[in-house]
Each structure stands twice: as C-alpha cells, then as structure tokens.
Symmetry: C3
Subunit: 342 residues, 3 copies
C-alpha cells in the first residue's frame, strides 16, 4: 500500500500539522517508528516518544499539545486509537484478495457455492456442502459432507471441517483448526477395554465468530456443540462435545472446556484455563490464566486458582501461602516456648 498524508487525513477527517504530501507505506509502534511509516499516540505514557520517533507521520488525539518541536507530521483526530484501527481496516482491505477457483481443487458436483468465492488449490469440498457469498476457502481445507459455510466467512489453509458442521456469516477460522472431530466418549467394558460411543451430533458456529489456529472443537454425541454469535477463540483451545459457549465470550490460548459444560455470554477466559465437564458458568464471568474450574460459577464472578476461587479471596489466601514458612516458624517457636513453660 501507499497513501499520502492528504489521503489518510481525508479518510479520517483529521487535521494535518506539517507536510501533507508525505507518502507512507506501513504502520509502526511509536517507540520503533521507521521512516516511511505512520504511527499513533493514544496513551500519554508514550508522549516522550513523539519527540524522538523516526516515523514520518503520527496520529494524535485532537487534545494533544506538543511541549517541544515534533519532526513528524501530525494528523489530529478525535480518537487516535480508533483512527488507527480504521486505518488498519483500510490497509487490510487494500491487500490483494483471493478470488476464483484454483486448480487442482476437489469440488463435489453435488455441492453448491456462490459465484463470488475463493476456493484455493488442493481444497476439498465434499457432497452436499453449501458455501455462501464471498466465502474464502484457502488451500488444503477439507469440508466434509453436508457442511454449510455462511457469507463472507474465511477459512484459512488446512482447517478441517467434519461433516454436517454449520458455520455462520463473517467468521474467521484460522489455519489448522479442526471443527467437528469425534467427542471423546467411550464405555468401559468388563475386560478393561473401552468401546467407542459413536458421536453422531455436529457443531454449530454462529455469526461473527473467530477461531484460532490449531484449535479443536468436537461434535456433540447427540445434538450440537454450539459456539454462539460473536465468540472469539484463540489458538490451541479445546472445546469438547456438547459444550455451549454463549454470545461474545472470549477464550485465550490453550484453554480447555470439557464435555457438556456451558459458558455464559460476555465471559473472558484467560490462557490455559481448564473447565471440567457438566459445569454451568454464568454470564460476564472472568477467569484468570490457568484457573481450574470444577464447580458451577455465578454471573459476574472473577475467579482464579488451581481450584477456582473468588479472585479477592484467592489473593488473600495466596498472601498467606507465599509466607507459609514464616507462619510455620512463628507457630512452632511459640509452641515450643509454651510447651517449655508448662
């Protein structure tokens, strides 16, 4: 990409202080600014960098008043952070977009797709699959029998979609994600072996969902594993059979949710959290990284710890825990003194 300051300011409805004809071709962080790039200053903690940055252009809040001369051209906007996000959207939209059907790919005669799709080389579209408008299927994606992919959804290279999966509109599925693999269900036999319980349900992913690289979401034993509208899931997350994750919940990397549990809406799960099976988690719950959740959790809770506790309580417990040697010493010293007196 290449934009002039004039073009960017027009797009952002911003005011230019400095040279309007400079051309920039990338963005950078203010502390790592390079010539030819645009950066931004939103957090006052970083103010000092604006006098030193080598970026040619800085987005600033209209309220920003320099205390020293600034070498870079400034573009003043209402909210520098949001303006940057808009510019990054613009940048991504300016990138070349994959279109059409590459050869060789495997598209079952018995599948349907809109004219406006990208199907990359070596993609595999099985019988009965339906791809919506503007869908992008990158190379090495496998879409099993009867799956449906909604408009504008992008599935990156090598993601695997088992049969009968339903994926909504405006979703992003990252490389290597697996959706619809068998739930982990086995019946113990008298001889110590396990017999597979067939997993005949599916996965339903609603609209505006993002699913990270190499994340796995198992199909339901019966019925559906469900990921609701607006959920964002990071890399290497495990979602087991018959789980339901409600609207606008965010799940960080390497977290696992065991079978038949429900996670409410508006929750935030840190990295490496583990949720046991058959648990109900309310709405707007926050779990710190590595929390282990073995019981139901009420709405609006904030939880931490190997066995999830209320976070304030956890911090109190932890404050004593980390000084246990001192407590131990003080107690047995006192005890010895008392014992020696009696």
């Amino acid at each position: 990409m290449e934009f002039t300051v004039r073009e960017i300011a027009a797009f952002l409805k911003g005011e230019v202080v400095g040279n309007q004809d400079i051309t920039i071709n990338n963005v950078s962080k203010i502390e790592e600014g390079k010539p030819g790039t645009l950066t931004f200053l939103a957090n006052p903690k970083y103010n000092a960098f604006i006098y030193e940055t080598k970026a040619d252009v800085v987005l600033v809040n209209r309220s920003f008043k320099p205390e020293k001369p600034v070498a870079a051209t400034l573009i003043k906007v209402q909210n520098a952070y949001e303006a940057l996000a808009s510019l990054m959207d613009l940048y991504v939209q300016s990138l070349p977009k994959k279109k059409g059907i590459e050869i060789p790919s495997y598209i079952s005669a018995n599948s349907k797709h809109d004219e406006e799709v990208y199907i990359g080389a070596f993609a595999y579209i099985d019988e009965g699959v339906v791809l919506g408008k503007n869908v992008q299927i990158y190379p090495h994606v496998w879409i099993g029998r009867g799956s449906v992919i909604g408009d504008n959804t992008v599935i990156f290279a090598g993601a695997k979609i088992y049969p009968e999966t339903k994926i909504g509109k405006n979703c992003i599925i990252h490389a290597g994600a697996v959706i619809g693999s068998d739930g982990f269900g086995f019946a113990p036999q008298e001889n110590g072996e396990y017999k597979k319980l067939q997993q005949i349900g599916n996965v339903i992913v609603e609209d505006n969902v993002e699913i990270g690289a190499n994340t796995t979401i198992d199909c339901a034993t019966m019925g559906a594993t469900i990921v609701r509208h607006g959920v964002k899931i990071d890399n290497l997350v495990q979602v087991a059979h018959n789980v339901e994750i409600k609207e606008n919940t965010v799940i960080a990397a390497q977290t696992g949710i065991a079978g038949s549990s429900t996670v409410g809406s508006g929750c935030v799960l840190g990295g490496q959290v583990g949720v046991a099976g058959h648990i109900k988690i309310g709405n707007n719950v926050t779990f710190g990284a590595k929390t282990g959740v073995k019981n139901n959790v009420k709405d609006n809770s904030v939880m931490m710890g190997e066995w999830a506790m209320d976070a304030r309580n956890f911090r109190r417990v932890y404050a004593v825990y980390k000084n246990l040697p001192e407590l131990y010493h003080d107690f047995y010293t006192l005890k010895r003194n008392i014992d020696s007196r009696s």
Copy 2:
C-alpha cells in the same frame, strides 16, 4: 437414515408400546427431543422428561413403569443405554462410506494397498508404505516412507504420519494429528547454542487405539515411542519421545507426557495433566485434571494437585489452604495475646 419403530425394535429385540409404523430419522436427548427423533431414558433422574418430550420414540428399560400417560411410542429393552449405543453404531454404519481412490492423489509406485481402501484426493502415500484392508485415508493425509497402517484403520483429513510409523488395526486417527515428529532432544554447546540430537527411532501404535485431533506423538530418539492396545487419546495431547502408554489407558485433552516416561495400563489421565520425563506410572492410576506428576506413582493411586498428591490427602490439604487467612488471623491473634501477657 430412516427407520421405522418396527425395524428398530426388531434390531434391538425390544417390545413396542404404541405406534409401530412411526419413522424416525435422528436421535436426540430426552430434554431436547424433537419430532421425528428417537431418544432414551436410562437415568431415573430424567424420568420427568418422558412425559413432556417431543421425541416420537423413547427407548426405556424393561423395568420402567410410567406414572402418567406418555405421548411417545416406547421401545422396552433390557438396557436402554446400551441399546442406544447399538443404534448409534447402526446409524453410523448406515452412513455413506468413502471408497476407492480419488484423483488427484499421490501414491508411490513403491507402496502397497489392499483393493478395499479409500484414498482421498490430495492424500500422499510415500515409498514403502503398506495400507491394510478397508483402510480409509482421508484428504490431505501424509504418510511418510515405510509406514504401515493396519486393517480397518481410519486416518482423518490432514493427519501427518512421519516415516517408519507402525499403526495397528481398527485405529482412528483424527484430523491434524501428527505422529512421528522428532523428539525434542538437543545437546547444549559451550557457546550457549544447542546441537540437534538426531531422532532415529519411530512410533508404534497398536490395535484399537483412538488418537484425537491435533494431538502430537514424537518418535523415539532410538527405539520406539509406544501406544499399546486399546489406548484412547483425546485432542491436543503431547506424547514425547520414548514414552510408552500401556493397554486401555485413557488420556483427556491437552495432557502432556514428557520424554521416556511410562504410563501403566488402565490409567485415566484428566485434562491438562503434565507428566515429567523419566517417570514410571503404575497400572490403574487416576490423575485429576491439571495434576503435575514429578515422581513415580504406584498402582491404583488416585492423585491430584500441582505437585501430585494422593487425592484424599490433597483434599485435606486444600481444605486448610482455602482457609489460610483464617488460620493466619487466629494464630497471630493468639500470639499477640500471649506476647502481651508475658
């Protein structure tokens, strides 16, 4: 699929109470029952749902006696849960089964396969590979030089099998699993760099093993990493070089087993468990989710905790731990009282 109640009852040797000519085309949970589906009632906790379910047909134990009229047709069988599992088997067998060799695929002239195989488009079968009878190799699977896949084994899309891997009969390998990647072995050098120790062993997977999506099993440095008969491994599990997992052990998602450790037979490892290297775990051991195992473990142990403890002991410790602030308060109150008296 479409079956009549008459057909299902005949298959299950069950007794019909109600309309024999109803057709069902799916199964559902009793609390979510839908018209056109069959459900089951095995656990008395769910009895109340049978009077409300919208499923057309309910499998019940012969011993079940309704307390009110039931709208659904009943099929009475010896064990409703097992009958359901059999029906799910029947259902899965009724699904269209992939057969034959799709084009384009890459099959080395120097490999062998039975006539009764499925080799999906874009699958890659390298030199010296041998595929048994009824093997199913889904699209994007890579099978490296000299690997052997036993009869009836299914390898789902995009799984990667490194050279010289031996996989037994009746196994299921899910999408994205990687078997035989290099063990993590490096020798530190004087200059701070690490030199790779070549990993020249392989992986042996015996019969009736299931391996979850995106799970990784490294080859041995020398000799073999071994997964014994009947082992079931969930998604995103790590099995390092030279590990041996014995018969009928079950490992839940995101667990990791470090190099050269041995896990006995009949064990159950919860999710996100970590087993250190060079550890020996006995038979019939159970680890709760997130357990950290740093020492050898005896047969029949039940263990929990960040540093694995006997579970009963862990619960006792935890009961004190979670109330540490109270203990702390009580102790220092007492101490102050005593100190002030002396």
Copy 3:
C-alpha cells in the same frame, strides 16, 4: 543403512576390541540391545548392562575397563555419547533425501526458488515467495504471499506459513505448525460485541530455529513477532503476537507466551508453562513445568509454582503446604488448650 565395525571405528577414530567385520544396521539402548545393532555406554549407572546386552557393538569411553568378559565388540572413543550423536548424524545423512518438484504442486509464477529444492506434491507456494538453496517443502505445506525461507530450511508436511513471514537458514518446522496466524486482538464495543483489530505485522524466525509439530506463532499486530537465532520450540506451544524470544532459548511442549512479552536468551521453559502478556523475562532464566509467570523476572532466576516464585522459596513453601493439615491440627490443639486455661 549397513556399516561394518571397521567403517564406524574409522569414522569415529576409535579403537576396536573384538570382531571388526560385524555389520550393524541400527542403534539401540543398551538395556534393550538387539543383535545387529550398535549401542553405547556413557553413564556409569548403566555399566551392568554391558555384560548382558544383546547388541553386537558397544561404543564406550576410552576410560572404560570391563570387570567381566563382554560378548559385544567394543569401540573405544574419547566420548561415547558424542560419538553416538555423530553416528546418528551420519545415519540421517545416509537416508534418502527428497529432491525436485513433485506433481501436482502449486507454485506461483511470481515466486522464486533455487534449483536445489524439494517441493512436495500438493505444496502451495504463493506470489512473491522466495525459497533459498536446499530448502525442503514437504507435501501440504502452504506458504503465503511474500514469505521468505532461508537456505537448508526444512518445512514438514502440512505446516502453514502466513503471508510476509521471514524464516532464516537451517531451520526445521515440524508438521502442522502454523506461523503468522492473526494475533488475538479485539476492541470491546458498547453493545458487548468485540471488533477485530486487524493484525498487519508478521513473524520473523532467525537461523537455526526448530519449531515443533502443531505449534502456533501469531503475527504481530504491528511490527514483528520475533524468534531469535538458535531457539528450540517443542510441540503445541503458543507464541502470541509481538512476543520476542531471544537467542538459544528452549521451550518445552504446551507452553504459552501471551502477547507482547519478551523472553531472554539462554532460558529454559518447562512444559505447560504460561507467561502472561507484557512481561519481560531476563536471560538464563529457568521455569519448572506448569509455572505461571505474571511478573517480570530477573536474569538467572529459577522459578516454579502456579504464581512463579524463586524455586528454593517455592520448595520451602511447598514443604509447609503439603503438611498443612498437621499445622492446622497442632495450632488448634494448642489454642484449645490455652483457651481452656484462661
């Protein structure tokens, strides 16, 4: 492979005690030694096995003096362990090496590659990609627009490289690894939804790096996520956006490093470690398995625990923790006694 003892001894500049004309075709561990194989004895703990091993040939240190007759032929070398590592290198070099371009593969006309490359069937090389000398791209690898792969780097089957990634020389990327997927960045909206913050940075991997199977490394929001020279990363590891991992650091399986954190050089991270975002970790730091790191860490630290502590301190705390029920009992017994007296 097949080598005679004479050939091996000449290669290692070792001294033979026994039959020089024996042929070996594999290596084995001394306790599992099989006819036709070579083994080694480096650790005196294993001395007893040399009198029983069925391996035909044993590499021993020059200083080794048998106490009983040894059936196997000995090759005496300066350092048996290093000699073995050299032999394993020799063995791997003797294996058939993939060369040339297999059909069908997808190679953009607008990409460049040296003549000496391997590009496997179903590999996908997008526009602007540059592959160095002796690069090996296995089947099902996807290399996005503008990525550069340095000389002698090997990318195993199904790894996915997003656009604009830079990978250095002599790297090994294992099967299923994903490099350059979007960082996990979303801005909360007033209606509870999250808006994607476009991720326009990339990933830079320097020389001599190894990246394990199904590991994921996200691109930077802006700028670069950086993996420095000589870093070794195991399987199923998560490296988030804008992380920097410095020279010769080693990271075991299932560890996760959250956004914008920096890990120093010469560090060792055990398995299932979690590092929070925006953390700075010094050089030569060691983290035990499952450590949770929520604060900056100084050079040369050794840390353990759910909330990382100095390891010696952790062990002291843990020694009290595991006996908490006793402390509890002793305290409340004492308290009752005192209370009853007053």
